[in-house]
Amino acid sequence: MTTFDPRLVRADTPLLTRIINGRPITYLDSAASSLPPRPVIDAMSRHYERQHANVHRGVYQTANESTQSYEGAREAIARFIHAPAGGEEIVFTKNATEGFNLLAKSWAASNLRSGDVVLVSEMEHHANIVPWFQLRESIDIEVRFIPVGDDYRLDLGNIDELMKGVRLVSVTAMSNVLGTVTPLKQLARIAHEHDALIAVDAAQLVGHAPSDVVDLDVDFFIFSAHKMLGPTGLGILWTRRDILNTMPPFLGGGGMIADVSTSGYVPAKGPTRFEAGTPPIAEAAGLSAAVTYLEGLGMENVARHDRDLTQDALSRIDDEFGGRVRIVGPVDTDHRGGVISLDVEGVHAHDVAQVLDQFGVCVRPGHHCAKPLMKRFNLTATARASFGPYSLVSDTDVLLEALTDAVKLFG
């Protein structure tokens, strides 16, 4: 087993040396975007300094190096999520959101018929909601929502009823608001029993726990590099090769074609069919470095660390503030990850975050791109703290200190 020490990760993360308002930064916003460690930043600089060139079709040395680096990132990601057929199943997008648009506008648009149902949940991110509403403008599909119970977990009591007419189940692996972890294996089984496919929003999962698409038995797996210590500008869509090969093109342009004439075009085969234009080349180099770095930490270790921090924070918030600060999410760490949404009585999330900023504490206020979920719980905003592999118990100390001040100010 790899040894894992969050203090070493911290030492690798340049941003954590910043001083904010006279205090060392306390970064608790990894659910929005994670902080890349030095090797990831350097991999991208090195790309531009040493090997940058456009990929494919090049014969000269740096073009080869760039191509190999780009294709190597596909292999690295395939390995990381255990894609059975390797890089041939990995499509690079610009972010997780584009992944869902690709799913909706390519696979779903060509496979769903009027009356078919896409089953999402009430706790989805807008990325896994809006593309389905957009699809509804051209095909009369139904977008159905699995309800979230008062225990902040998916309510599967009526799942057989809910599954009627469903062709695709598209759910998050972990809510970016509640922290709730969804029972993916169970949902995959249910979906397949009903001859439906299952897509997973893995944006909050991949940087925080081991991911195995074969073990989960899912059909699509979508996430973003910037939430797994990687760069912005790069997302990933995995699907099984047999599905990928039947999907029609999405965006059109260079790189995704086999042939073009003045009368029409023939799309390319494989992942490049979905990668129109110059891809995120330097970003892919950064992603490879992030994968290597996370593998070095060991994802089991990262997951345990998240769980320990979460457990500690939940019980201390409860001890310290009781009913004054409500935790919007499950309290049992068996059913949740390291994303903690807080509702401070009588204090708006924006004000909480503003006070916390004075302590150098970075938490995110707002609806977290999950407005249907907010409405479900009659909230307009929460203040959300979330952990990364560089987080320490001392971050929670500062969070509590700052929260105390916020409560006092508005008390």
Partner: protein, 156 residues
């Protein structure tokens, strides 16, 4: 924490805790206008009753942070009973205060004195300009009121 005290002055916290002119007015005769900040989800609904060129009554509902809520409460108290012309003047003064500051944050130039004086209690909001992201919280109610006045003059 001196910055923070600049932002959250007593007047502001007071208006946040006990908002003035909260409630609804019957429409018609009142006009109802909605304002919305999609980025943070703040909402404000303004009811305007105008009689003979005078804003005889104003009520407000909505939800949001202390800045947006206190700003709308402070605004309602400041504009109620004023002539529409005076109201427009106040809107301009307030928004200028917010913008002038926004562009002069670095130089820390103080706002023109006469403007601040004209605003009375409202001047408590001037600490907001040190926190540029919060400016849109402070101006939400004012933009909504302005929109209401525009609709009223369009009806004329």
């Amino acid at each position: 924490m001196s910055n923070l005290e600049d932002l959250y002055r007593e007047v502001i916290l007071d208006h946040y805790r006990s908002p003035r002119n909260r409630g609804e007015l019957e429409t018609p005769p009142a006009l109802r206008v909605e304002g919305f900040n999609p980025l943070c989800g703040d909402e404000v609904v303004v009811y305007l009753l105008v009689d003979n060129g005078v804003l005889t009554d104003i009520k407000m509902t909505g939800h949001g942070c202390s800045i947006s809520q206190s700003s709308s409460s402070l605004m309602s108290a400041a504009v109620k009973g004023k002539s529409l012309e005076q109201v427009r003047g106040l809107i301009t003064t307030f928004k200028t205060l917010m913008t002038v500051h926004e562009s002069s944050i670095d130089s820390s130039e103080p706002p023109p004195l006469q403007d601040v004086r004209a605003l009375g209690e409202l001047a408590a909001l001037q600490g907001v300009v040190k926190f540029p992201v919060r400016i849109k919280c402070a101006t939400l109610a004012w933009n909504t009121l302005n929109q209401g006045l525009d609709e009223l003059s369009a009806i004329d």
